[in-house]
Amino acid sequence: MATENIIKIKNVTFTYPDTKQPAIDNISFNIKRGTWTAIIGHNGSGKSTIIRLINGLLVPDNPEEASIEVDGFELNNDSVWDIRNKVGIVFQNPDNQFVGATVADDVAFGLENRGVPREEMLKIVPEAINAVGMADYTNSEPSSLSGGQKQRVAIAGIIAIKPKIIILDEATSMLDPEGRNKILQIVHQMKKEYGLTVISITHDIDEASLADQVIVMNDGKLIDQGSSSEIFSQTTLLKKLGLDVPFFEQVKDMLLERNINIPKTVNSEKELINFLCQLNSNK
């Protein structure tokens, strides 16, 4: 089943009941196996709707023309349960995704649901909790944990199911900077260790720039798709869409406005700093 593109979306349109404007307007894109994709766009641009379409929580308006393929399976009524086993989602609010009375119970919940035998669970659960660095809290009550710790437990619950794809739906937006960095670090490690494909829906520019590919959404349409440096250098577009621009790009734009010539090849903070330092020492 190891096709190169783990997710293939073709001609998908979706409209919520009682609205005229489609939330997703004829979108097509592919995601390569083992890559990290960031989806950016302002609130209401359709980012989360895409996720719900990928795991079959929502169904496209146009099932005849539209096609959604996950890990080689066409999404339909028969395959939807298999596909949900392949896709783990971490949601925004850490308090909305707990069911267990202890961390271990919570991580075991998904396994119980899938009828995994107890002996196996006794092996998988501690492994998953270890992987996110929460072993000291195995028997703690979820309510006593910090937001960042709760999101780590949510990730452990997903790892336990051994999915192919992990989706972070603004999973770090409610966390403080330390909590956010820890989560991203853990997901990175999981990606490497288990060959996961990562999709992160985010407003955080630092989180988005970690991605191999960035998809830009606006009013249900896919506006652009490319590497993070390709996308984030389009400062005018990003500003027009109400999105953040990396700080060095802002500085670069402001210097250009002041007639300080910066070559087009300068595409990272490091390059900009090197260029400015050279310019200064050669003056």
Binding site: H42, N43, G44, Q92, N93, S146, E170, S173, M174, D176, P177, E178, G179, H203, G242, L243, D244, F247, F248, Q250, V251, M254, L255, R258, I260, E269, I273, L276, C277, L279, N280, S281, K283
Partner: protein
């Protein structure tokens, strides 16, 4: 009237095995009409401090003077209504506290609670609905049909509607998209400019640099520094010693070798001005 904290300490669960110091001999004075940022790590006492501003927590020892009220360990819970009308706390994700059937009723709830007539309350509610940048036609919708960013604005409008003199906010822009975040922060700046005091608990050093004129730094329940943002961010080694971040502009400046900065630039504008000046000299 300024806000004065005199030797304020707070102990969680005193005389129990879980006893923990929340605030440790905190002293400061915040001037009227300031935009004060409270920064520090998770668990440093920022939220504990904030909850003392309208006596949700009362000091275990020491004294607080705020909005014409003196709060001591002996203060009874009975006569706090006036204090809470003047000092409002907005916690993280206030949209979780919406409950009314319509947006307008939700915004009018606070004013009605503080003695506005039904008619007056509706009037100010309408006014603030517009002021926070919400479309007027959502007034009669259920707040639960709105997007997250809109719900946040409804919740904030409900607090601003009775115009507290002192507005305390805990990460009010967390989780919003960049555009909505900027609008929200500018709304608070306007509120301050209109003659109110704004107190902002935050991890975002760019917000501190862009909006605040006064900064309190908390660590392990103690206030370790109280100064203007320019002064706080001027001392790079002190910041590093306390694991505090710098604004992006000053971080960028610190990586430029051979450039002269008299003080670390706090905003992109000043950064670019100084770079230009260096290059042209």
């Amino acid at each position: 009237m300024s806000i004065k904290f005199k030797q304020v300490s707070y102990i969680y669960a005193p005389d129990s095995p879980l006893e923990k110091k929340g605030l440790d001999n905190v002293n400061f004075e915040i001037q009227d009409g300031s935009f004060t940022a409270i920064i520090g790590h998770t668990g440093s006492g920022k939220s504990t401090l904030m909850q003392h501003f309208n006596a949700l927590l009362k000091p275990t020892s020491g004294q607080i003077e705020i909005a014409g009220t003196t709060i001591t360990p002996e203060t009874s819970n009975k006569n706090l209504k006036q204090l809470r009308r003047h000092v409002s706390l907005v916690f993280q994700f206030p949209e979780a506290q919406l409950f009314e059937s319509t947006v307008l009723n939700d915004i009018a709830f606070g004013p009605k609670n503080f003695g506005y007539s039904e008619e007056e309350a509706k009037k100010v509610a309408h006014n603030w609905l517009k002021k926070v940048g919400l479309p007027e036609d959502i007034a009669d919708k259920s707040p639960f049909e709105l997007s997250g960013g809109q719900m946040r604005r409804v919740a904030i409008a409900g607090v601003l509607a009775y115009e507290p003199e002192i507005l305390c906010l805990d990460e009010p822009a967390a989780g919003l998209d960049p555009h909505a975040r900027k609008q929200m922060m500018n709304l608070f700046l306007e509120y301050q400019k209109a003659g109110h005091t704004v107190i902002l608990v935050t991890h975002n050093m760019d917000d501190v640099a862009n909006y605040a004129d006064d900064v309190l730094v908390m660590e392990h329940g103690q206030m370790i520094k109280h100064d203007k943002p320019q002064v706080i961010f001027n001392d790079r080694s002190w910041l590093q010693q306390h694991y505090l971040d710098e604004p992006q502009a000053s971080l960028f400046a610190s990586k430029l070798t051979g450039f002269e900065f008299s003080t670390p630039p706090l905003t992109a504008e000043t950064l670019v001005q100084v770079i230009e000046k260096n290059l042209k000299e």
